[in-house]
């Protein structure tokens, strides 16, 4: 079976290299030589990128485009053997989905590493930054190549931990510390759902092995995606107890929603912008937050068997999509706009998965397509925003303006990414959004209308920040004195801007599916889709470029509603209320009372009684040896007399 070439045979290098680099940079190079630490970490990720592309080419030469694309596991070792058929392996699973994610992660990560060499220059935590960035890349790769759900969970937690380290990177800032804790706690809460989902699912799947009909599958493990996604297993699980399967899938989706920041677990993502901007680009835009989408996509055949679970995915996605887009229109911090935009686009991917079905795979395909294009243009937007912030020293879009001439490269690349996310052809975002809308139109017209509305909103808020920051007059001293960033920051911008254009032309359908999809999309769809994007651009142009008073009159027209939206619908306040007023007062306070007055008091009283009785009893211990012997003698005498009375 060893017919694989170099890249697939040695695919484990893709995990080993970042691991070694993480250890070497963190322990040996980092403390001594900062400059080398950055270069070393960056180089190792570039090597990983080469491995990922090499593996993809090899996979495609074995199984060409348009042919059947089997799932292969070129490398695996036994990791946690619980029982026969209940053994977790540590391995690498290769199929189009994992290859796609590997390429996205290594590409964006290497670009972000390169960018950080310039962006983080002179920071006291320079080598710590690269160490954790390497750890993150390792964990994220481990997550997407996982052949079983348990390995995925372990790396899932590791990405959460590295995200925690990086959000709280500026740990002397109280807001950064609070944001990192918030992100950690919210996602951990969601991970509880994920873990429970794993338990239920693997318990159910494990019991299938005792059936006669599954004897031919006995080489699989209950945790394996291959087993869980096997048509016979899906059939058996959904006929045995469909409700339980749906429950498990919804629990898994809660985990996915936490990581992908779906409503109502989205609150951590906007705050996560406290981390350095390259981190926002890599973790909170391009890679980690799509892990939830990836999880649903990975178990898609299983999700497809439960209509309820798919509906949950659809409506949570659709709601997050429109909810975040509306908020994004009112924010003034450039990174927050991008963060809400990320939320909205993640909702787009989720709703796209939700409207797909095993028979109609277009939504599944479109979701992964959008995942890829979004990773490139959103990483680019964040890196561009980082370049602007670096030059202007402010996050506020009203402090910018007129940067078109001062930051020419940033301007062009940012504009390309903005067009891409607005969904205007022939930029990449158009193709993926078009497919999502096509999938939604066939299956769920309501979701289609939401999608169309959000497409217009997206174009509007993105061009809002574009016009405000790059056009018009410089509105602050920072913006007047802005200078273009260094070359190591510009190369990633240029490279990613090329990708944001061309990634839409990738032969995605053939890469993922063997059979051709039936396209029964009406011919007006691309026109409507790009038209809604153009409408948003036009509105932004009228409001923020022409300097008309429309923006203010619309803002005043909405009045209180605008305030509500600007405050993110007070979701954070609701959470604070629930936590402080309900959880703290009605759950935490009684528990604290019990702890103090019952648990602690038992211990305290025991100690008190022991001490007091000791004080009394110590009087017997005179320390006088003669008293002791007298007592001993008297005791002996009494004993003697007693024995005399009894026996003699």
């Amino acid at each position: 079976m060893n017919t694989y070439g170099f890249f697939l045979t040695n695919i484990w290098l893709i995990l080993l290299i970042p691991l070694l680099s993480f250890i070497i940079v963190g322990l040996f190079i980092g403390p001594k030589n900062k400059k080398l630490a950055g270069i070393f970490a960056t180089t190792s990720i570039f090597v990983c990128a080469a491995l990922a592309y090499g593996a993809t080419f090899e996979y495609l030469s074995l199984f060409p485009l348009g042919a059947e694309h089997p799932v292969i596991v070129p490398w695996s070792v036994q990791w946690m053997p619980y029982l026969e058929n209940l053994t977790a392996t540590l391995g690498i699973m290769v199929d189009p989905l994992s290859l796609l994610l590997m390429m996205i992660i290594t590409t964006v990560s290497s670009m972000v590493h390169l960018y950080s060499i310039g962006y983080m220059h002179g920071d006291p935590g320079y080598s710590r930054f690269f160490t954790v960035l390497n750890l993150f890349t390792l964990s994220m790769l481990g997550l997407v190549v996982a052949p079983n759900i348990l390995q995925m969970f372990v790396f899932w937690e590791l990405v959460g931990a590295s995200s925690f380290f990086l959000i709280g990177f500026y740990y002397t800032k109280a807001s950064a510390v609070a944001a990192s804790k918030k992100a950690f706690i919210v996602t951990r809460f969601a991970d509880l759902g994920f873990l429970l989902g794993i338990l239920i699912l693997s318990y159910e799947a494990y019991h299938l092995f005792s059936l006669e009909a599954f004897a031919h599958l006995s080489s699989y493990n209950a945790f394996d995606f291959n087993f869980l996604n096997h048509p016979e297993v899906i059939n058996a699980l959904s006929t045995a107890d469909g409700a339980l399967l749906t429950f498990a899938l919804v629990l898994l989706f809660i985990g996915a929603a936490g990581k992908s920041a779906m409503f109502p677990l989205h609150i951590w993502l906007p705050d996560a912008m406290e981390g350095p901007t390259p981190v926002s680009a890599l973790i909170h835009a391009a890679t980690m937050v799509v892990a939830g989408v990836y999880l649903v996509g990975r178990l898609f055949p299983l999700f497809g068997s439960s209509e309820v679970a798919l509906n949950v995915v659809t409506y949570v996605g659709a709601f997050t999509c429109v909810f975040a887009a509306v908020i994004a229109c009112t924010q003034n911090d450039i990174k927050r706009v991008l963060a809400f935009s990320t939320l909205s686009q993640l909702g787009y991917m989720m709703l796209s998965l939700g409207v797909a079905s095993p028979l109609h795979k277009l939504g599944y395909l479109a979701s992964n397509f959008h995942l890829m294009t979004h990773a490139f243009f959103k990483a680019l937007l964040f890196l561009g925003a980082g370049s602007i912030i670096h030059a202007v020293h402010s996050n506020d879009i009203w402090q910018m303006g007129g940067l078109r001439k001062k930051l020419p490269v940033t301007h062009i690349t940012f504009l390309m990414a903005t067009i891409a996310i607005a969904g205007i052809p022939p930029f990449s975002g158009f193709y993926s959004k078009d497919e999502i809308l096509a999938a939604a139109l066939v299956n769920n017209p309501i979701v289609f209308i939401i999608g169309l509305f959000v497409a217009a909103l997206t174009a509007f808020y993105m061009f809002r920040i574009y016009f405000l920051s790059f056009c018009g007059e410089a509105k602050s001293d920072g913006a007047k004195q802005a200078k273009e960033s260094s070359i190591s920051m510009l190369i990633p911008l240029i490279f990613l801007s090329v990708l944001s254009v061309v990634s839409g032309w990738f032969p995605f359908e053939k890469f993922f599916l063997s059979e051709a999809l039936v396209h029964n999309t009406p011919s007006w769809l691309p026109i409507v889709a790009s038209g809604s994007g153009l409408l948003g651009v036009l509105l932004a142009y009228l409001f923020y470029f022409k300097k008309t008073t429309y923006a203010n009159s619309v803002k005043n027209g909405f009045g209180p509603l605008h305030t509500v939206i600007q405050n993110k619908f007070y979701i954070d306040a609701v959470y604070l209320f629930v936590v402080h007023k309900i959880i703290f007062r009605f759950i935490a306070a009684p528990i604290a009372w019990i702890d103090r007055h019952i648990v602690d008091a038992t211990m305290d009283k025991t100690a008190y009684v022991t001490k007091e009785s000791g004080l009394v009893l110590k009087k017997i211990q005179t320390g006088n040896i003669h008293t002791y012997t007298m007592m001993f003698l008297l005791g002996g005498l009494v004993l003697f007399l007693l024995l005399l009375g009894v026996g003699f």
């Binding site: 110590k618 009087k619 211990q621 005179t622 320390g623 006088n624 040896i625 003669h626 012997t629 007298m630």
Partner: protein, 108 residues
């Protein structure tokens, strides 16, 4: 051998043992010096040893249990003296006295 001086019987040996034991007991309670107490203890042990051999000689025939027990007593007494003296030296080097009535610091 003069006939006035009789071969002493069991009673006399037990009498000797009792006298010795009583002297030891008296010394034990009246002495305040740790070494004096140790000597008194030795006296009582030897009194017990005498009664063991006496009973072995007069009351039992063809058995050596009493004598063996005496051997044990001698061995134990020797070991006890070694440990006791070692402790006393330590106490003396710390406190410059061996008065047992003053060794009651833990009760304070």
């Amino acid at each position: 051998m003069l006939s006035i001086i009789q071969e002493p019987g069991l009673t006399y040996w037990l009498l000797l043992s009792t006298v010795l034991f009583s002297i030891g007991l008296y010394g034990f309670f009246t002495r305040t010096n740790a070494i004096g107490i140790l000597i008194s203890v030795e006296l009582m042990l030897n009194a017990a040893a005498i009664s063991f051999v006496s009973f072995n000689n007069f009351a039992v025939t063809g058995d050596l249990d009493g004598q063996i027990m005496t051997m044990f007593i001698i061995a134990v007494a020797a070991a006890e003296v070694v440990i006791g003296m070692a402790i006393f030296i330590q106490i003396f080097s710390k406190q410059r006295h061996l008065n047992v009535t003053k060794m009651n610091e833990l009760s304070r």
